[in-house]
């Protein structure tokens, strides 16, 4: 794929107003809630650390899903048709969307981490690295959801769909605070990929990582999301060879 093409796609992503919201909401929420609970603890870690990981996960999720969902707008505008007249392959087009999604997610996480540091979160280099690394893996199913949504929905339903989807995942994943600390409900939410995304912060504390279950859950959701995204892509582009 042409790097120039990617460059302009990235430029478009960072100029987009959507970024303001996927970055702004989690940041404001974090600053408000964490600053009033600076010295509390949650799930065995400091409240700002837990909440930083939660808000970074939610924001990254929101950013990466909306990056993919821009496909829907470009289809409506007739831009994807125009692109089919160029040598750009559909694969390169999707790849560029995913790269933009990851960059959005990374930017969101970095901003939240800086805010966390300001509110007293202290992690070692290894711990930061583990947290970011796990978050990048944990975002895979959500990047694919974005592509799926982009092919499945019309632009007018994107806002509620992307907002609602990421809110549900954030809520059950414990991004806004643990939804369950024991019992069947905890067992259930541990099968949700966003749970492990949020956990990337707390498990990194002390230098740990996901247990096997985390990898399996994220792996299975990624495969399922890839399948769904592929079906949506095929269905959507069937009329155009």
């Amino acid at each position: 794929m042409s790097l120039t093409y990617l460059h302009y796609e990235v430029l478009r992503t960072f100029r987009s107003r959507a970024l303001l919201f996927s970055l702004g909401f989690p940041l404001v929420l974090f600053l408000v809630v964490a600053s009033t609970n600076r010295h509390a603890t949650l799930e065995g870690v400091s409240f700002p650390l837990y909440y930083m990981a939660g808000m970074a996960s939610w924001g990254a999720m929101l950013g990466i899903i909306s990056a993919g969902s821009r496909i829907s707008v470009e289809r409506q505008q007739g831009w994807t048709r125009q692109l089919r007249l160029t040598p750009l392959s559909p694969r390169a087009y999707l790849l560029a969307k995913v790269v933009c999604g990851y960059l959005t997610a990374l930017l969101t996480m970095v901003v939240l981490f800086v805010a966390g540091t300001v509110l007293g979160v202290r992690l070692g280099v290894r711990e930061w690295a583990v947290m970011v690394g796990l978050a990048l893996v944990g975002l895979v199913p959500f990047g694919l959801f974005g592509v799926m949504v982009g092919h499945l929905l019309k632009p007018d339903s994107l806002g509620p769909a992307v907002g609602g989807l990421s809110a549900l995942f954030a809520l059950f994943g414990g991004a806004w605070g643990p939804i369950a600390t024991h019992g069947t409900l905890l067992d259930l939410v541990r099968d949700i990929p966003s749970y492990w995304l949020v956990q990337s912060g707390t498990v990194a504390y002390g230098g740990g990582g996901w247990p096997l279950r985390g990898w399996v859950v994220v792996g299975i959701w990624s495969l399922a999301a890839a399948r769904l995204a592929f079906v949506a892509y095929r269905r959507d582009t069937a009329r155009v060879v």
Binding site: Y5, Y8, E74, W79, R81, L85, T86, P87, L88, V240
Partner: protein, 307 residues
């Protein structure tokens, strides 16, 4: 057909057909365009021009028939960057300036032209720094034209390229098209404007109701209808009876007036007055391309509505 013959030919359509549900948009088109030709696809609304173009560009699969571009499939020719196009519908993507958008498209083609040069030629230079969402209709059209041109393709396909352009825009457009044609590129453009087809194309392909009804140089098409049109006021006359008069090839009615397309104007006038002495307000004119267009298009319609 041998392979070299195919490779030499620019664009070959064989028995191409496509329907949208009950609507037969394109009904069997055979067309060969040699490299270097400039061809106008002329026809009224709904004639099937855009559908044909979509199939040529590989955007829509034909129901039947085949498209060959430079000896290969449309997908192959597009992947090789040999095709550039301007579609009839479609907006420009947001969050980029005109210059950035053209540069982004240029980056996708192997033999793209310098962006600044294309911006200058298309007159997009003046608003190159503006965001694509803040353009007038004609400015967007110039931007779309710049996107097609920067690709520097062997075949340029343009669907109603001058729609929304002002006089100067049209002039700029055709000036740069002539330059492209001089470089030996193949150009196919769809239009409703007879003058455009007449002045800028080597050849006119006239489409009506999904078919090619005439194909040739503008002069050939004019001569297809002989050259004379007779208008007369003649209430209540049977059109079929008029069509059977000597020298008459077609007849149309508008209120009490009839218009006759004639292959032989003199013979037609004599037989008209001989058969219908009541005919008045006679007017004889040399048929232009417009009459030819109307006649060929309506001729085909008569065919369709016949039981």
């Amino acid at each position: 057909m041998s392979i070299p013959a195919l490779a030499d030919s620019g664009l070959v359509l064989r028995d191409l057909a496509k329907s949208y549900g009950p609507v037969a948009a394109v009904r069997g088109i055979d067309l060969t365009i040699a490299p270097g030709e400039t061809v106008a696809l002329l026809g009224p609304n709904g004639a099937g021009k855009s559908t044909t173009i979509d199939m040529i560009l590989g955007l829509a699969p034909p129901d039947a028939g085949s498209v060959t571009l430079f000896g290969s499939t449309p997908a192959r020719a597009v992947a090789d960057g040999r095709v550039g196009g301007m579609l009839q519908t479609g907006q420009l993507i947001s969050e980029l300036s005109v210059r950035e958008l053209v540069a982004m498209v240029a980056a996708l083609y192997p033999r793209a032209l310098p962006v600044d040069e294309v911006l200058a030629v298309t007159g997009a230079e003046r608003f190159a720094a503006q965001r694509t969402t803040k353009l007038s209709g004609g400015q967007s059209q110039r931007t779309r034209f710049a996107m097609a041109l920067v690709a520097n393709p062997d075949l340029l396909v343009l669907d109603e390229p001058t729609a929304a352009l002002d006089v100067e825009g049209r002039h700029d457009f055709w000036a740069s098209m002539s330059e492209v044609a001089r470089q030996g590129k193949t150009i196919l453009f769809a239009t409703h404007y007879l003058e455009e087809a007449d002045s800028y194309a080597d050849r006119i392909v006239l489409m009506a109701r999904g078919r090619v009804v005439a194909d040739g140089a503008a002069t050939d098409i004019k001569s297809r209808v002989g050259g004379k049109t007779i208008r007369a006021t003649l209430p209540g006359v049977d059109l079929d009876a008029l069509r059977s008069l000597a020298g008459v090839t077609g007849a149309l009615r508008r209120g009490e007036a009839v218009t006759l397309a004639c292959s032989d104007g003199d013979a037609a006038l004599r037989s008209l007055l001989g058969t219908y002495p009541a005919a008045r307000d006679l007017e004889v004119r040399g048929a232009g391309l417009e009459e030819a267009f109307l006649e060929l298009v309506t001729e085909d319609e008569d065919e369709e509505t016949a039981p």
